[in-house]
Symmetry: C2
Subunit: 308 residues, 2 copies
Amino acid sequence: MINRLIQRIQQTNAPIVVGLDPMLKYIPQHIQKAAMSAFGETLEGAAEAIWQYNKGIVDAICDLVPAVKPQIAMYEQFGVPGLAAFRRTVEYCKSRGLIVIGDVKRGDIGSTSEAYAVGHLGKAAVGSKEYYGFDEDFATVNPYLGSDGVRPFLKVCKEEKKGIFVLVKTSNPSSGEFQDCLVLGKPLYELVGEKVAQWGEECMGEGYSYVGAVVGATYPEVGRIMRKVMPKTYILVPGYGAQGGKGADLVHYFNDDGLGAIVNSSRGIIAAYQQEKYAGFGEYGYADASRAAVLDMKEDIAQALNSR
Amino acid sequence: MINRLIQRIQQTNAPIVVGLDPMLKYIPQHIQKAAMSAFGETLEGAAEAIWQYNKGIVDAICDLVPAVKPQIAMYEQFGVPGLAAFRRTVEYCKSRGLIVIGDVKRGDIGSTSEAYAVGHLGKAAVGSKEYYGFDEDFATVNPYLGSDGVRPFLKVCKEEKKGIFVLVKTSNPSSGEFQDCLVLGKPLYELVGEKVAQWGEECMGEGYSYVGAVVGATYPEVGRIMRKVMPKTYILVPGYGAQGGKGADLVHYFNDDGLGAIVNSSRGIIAAYQQEKYAGFGEYGYADASRAAVLDMKEDIAQALNSR
């Protein structure tokens, strides 16, 4: 799947992933009203609104980018109906040719981590049959529990030819509280990065490994260092746009071949119509506003990479 | 909710939580057959088998223990139907008077962490209505992302009078890879524990805070230290039984008042009938075997606490 991700990045010329992190306050009134009039002001109504909203965005951007990254928390908050909308979104995105990175940040130990890996990337056995639970192409994984938590994901990745992105340095202001702690003179995130590179050696695609890393756009200097620590690791970079990251900050996350990183933007794309810059599209044009925002982001990153 | 947990621990005289971590291989054949003949060999069939199995155990043990801890991964592996079985299990356990600790190990940043907190502990707003998603009483939380990831849970805990248990030192063999890293001479888990104690000061119940910690039974010496670092923190102790922890190892996790810790056993209770010791109960007596295993665990821990 890492090979396919790279191929699609090259075909679209866009090292970009769109974060499908719907909040009700982003969803245009007409979509919310239609959903609530069909299902009432219920969890099912919220889930329907999310799904319709996502579908509009996906249809508008699926030819421009290689991948989407639905954030499962935004669905999970609406309980079982919300998770059914997540499942439906994953399925639809794949039917439109998009690679799906499930931003699930799971991590546990042994058989429990294996259950998460099975649920998100693999197949669960039921009697003589096997079924995919959520069936993303990649999942994000939390490393705090150590190798025991990550290896079950590697096992499923090998079977399914899928991949993971391990949290190394997150984009939030307090990410340094534990991640920056100096251990024998090195920050913890660097140790985690070294482990990611090791795990990746066991799961190599053509040039890059199936084991990626999350390194936030908000810490460009960290990007430069981690690029060297994990040369064959694809870096998923959150924090572009709404969180403050700009294309020029991101050039060091890429290798000289122009590969090695994929930059995420969520709110900046999916709620573009709520920004002054794209307000002209209006609520009914929200999906076109998202398309315009993707085109601008592509341009910003391409310029930054060309002028380095 | 921490006050209610303590009250129930005192009433049952059992600082014990039963981990409802169902795997199909634990579920007696007659339950699996009935579920599959009703729903086929499908995800729905697996979910039904899990639910019926859980119900039998819960009915057999609900007067003996204060709490249960369903591990969501074991449900999530069966996709949306599995998560519906999780929801149903949570609801049923509460109807039987049990406190429910959702072992979800979630953790993200800002609005995303808030969405997890809302989904598991709080209420999601949909138009003019509000709904609980999964509605556990406590949730486990991963600290790797720092305070930004934990504070949204504290907010919801205050609103709902619920609580969390933050991963400090997990019970698995490789937990030391990152958690034991020395930072200015202290292991990382101790720094995390200090933060847990700080977060807890903002959310105090009577004597203990709403912010608990997970410290594995497999590292008794760590339990002794962390008991002092976090004097007002309830410690959730996984790793008893199947993972190797014994009552005698656990006395240092408790304060002198006999409170301060609650010990989890999962497989050792729910699949007791598969152990030689309880094999006499047979598959049809699986729930009675679980009851016998709970009584033995109560005895083991009570003896250890009495003889210290």
